[in-house]
Symmetry: C2
């Protein structure tokens, strides 16, 4: 099985209560690739970078089985740059700078070598771009998942509603689910979103875990209680990468297997937040991941007799 | 096994985005008794009420196996009254009125008929009062749990630190855990509290579930995702009542059984929030409770192979 990941590869500058870093690689596609490549090969990356994106980073990704045929390198422009500062509770952040640079011209296409992929993860991009990518696939993938954000709800809601009809799963956070539906109750918001097209919905709640909805079924996975969240940047994309990587590894899109995927995604996200950017994701081993998943089992497992 | 519950029995006036009620019975002891009496008999209540507290309410509690020998009725004063208004997110509320009335004279004693109880739940009261109750017990209970709040941290921190050395378990919410320790990370706060006396700690996170800490072990139970939280008043006390009721029923204070207790408490709290005050707690049957616990199992259960 293979997984196509469409998303940004970028530079970030990050400030948290624990420290500050002026330049580190980031972007949704980067996090998805680092997370998913632990489970499935190849991850077929679609993105755009400038002349300044480090060759070593490309090499690092290649070594992990990430294909880069779909990554356009623009020789005379800089990579996308985002800078942000987190508040003390780590649940909210201020965006300080957004320099689109190469991202302004991003017009992703599916390389021939990627055709036939069974899984497609559409990172947070303009809904029209997401739809174009779907329509370029000659054979419909087994599962198409997408992310989006408040910006597109405010500027391109009609396009967003169209692309939602073409995907199987939407992966968003709680604030986005509320904004998309105008409903405060996440259970009501979920029911409304499942009427918009996707059959599956994941609502990410950051340190409060994630919910999976499908029909009348619901599954919840907590976030691991950590001593400190050092840097939450990329945790949501890492979650999505772990989730999709697990599904693509097994080829199994049953609800039962999606539950496992949520646990795998939560485990990957719990590593991501331990250091700046994707640093920790590059260090961890298969044994680390297995150990972390075991911690999740212990965190929520209980035996109870129902009489 | 029997459970002594020390707490308020009162009147509340409640305003939520869904409606308003000018007078309904409330108080921590009331909620603990309604929740716990589903699992253990007798619940031995210690409280104080005024001339205005309804006889029918007393009768209702008696019918459920709640002993009232320890409930003082003051013939010439009114019952404790609290009035509050919830914000739209239901996680925060403004206290509008607090009329202590009889509560100003509350000096609880253990009736002889209650001596020998194996479980003791100390509701949120002045730490000195909590300590007095503990010291009146001729035989130390198998498990003593207590609640507290920010008011006592600000006005009686020394007393609070003393009583903490006499209890086995503290049950508080996330904001209180942070205030008690001055630590933002709940994992760090928990470690700090477990140095203060209690061997067990439950941190309640409202709609985001509850954490149980003991030594290096941690267990998490989510709150049930509900369409609407109609009225959160008493949910925390109901949780504590369900938890202690389950422990007292089985007499088992192992960590494994506490996990089950947390699930039972969460199930009871999920009923509590469905209607004003304790209304819903009076309606539910054993079958309702079993069904709700089954929902919790389904919400978090997953099977994953670790290789």
């Amino acid at each position: 099985m293979s997984l196509i990941s469409v998303g940004t590869m970028a530079f970030d500058a990050i400030e948290t209560p624990f420290g500050k870093i002026n330049q580190i690689v980031g972007g949704s596609g980067t996090y998805v690739a680092y997370a998913a490549s632990n489970f499935v090969k190849p991850v077929q990356q679609i993105s755009i970078v400038g002349f300044d994106f480090p060759q070593e980073e490309m090499e690092e990704l290649r070594k992990r089985g990430v294909h880069l045929d779909g990554v356009v390198v623009v020789p005379d422009k800089k990579s996308f740059f985002w800078s942000g500062r987190y508040h003390e509770d780590m649940n909210s952040r201020d965006t300080l700078i957004t320099d689109l640079n190469v991202l302004a011209d991003f017009d992703p296409h599916i390389p021939d070598s990627y055709q036939g992929a069974e899984f497609l993860m559409l990172g947070n991009l303009a809904p029209k771009i997401q739809l174009n990518v779907i329509q370029e696939m000659k054979k419909r993938p087994k599962l198409i998942a997408m992310d989006t954000m408040n910006f597109w709800m405010e500027s391109a809601m009609n396009d967003l509603k169209i692309v939602l009809k073409y995907v199987d799963m939407l992966i968003i956070n709680d604030a986005e689910a509320r904004q998309l539906t105008g409903m405060f109750s996440l259970v009501k918001a979920a029911r409304s979103i499942l009427q918009m097209g996707p059959q599956y919905l994941i609502i990410k709640k950051g340190e409060h875990g994630a919910l999976l909805f499908h029909g009348d079924e619901v599954f919840f996975a907590p976030a691991l209680p950590l001593e400190d969240v050092f840097d939450p940047t990329g945790a949501g994309d890492t979650f999505a990468g772990g989730f999709m990587g697990h599904l693509a590894k097994s080829g199994d899109i049953s609800f039962e297997n999606m539950k496992r995927g949520i646990i795998v995604g939560s485990a990957m996200a719990s590593f991501c937040v331990e250091k700046f950017g994707p640093t920790r994701l590059k260090e961890i081993t298969a044994a680390d991941i297995t150990g972390r998943i075991q911690q999740f089992k212990e965190l929520v497992s209980f035996e109870i007799e129902l009489v």
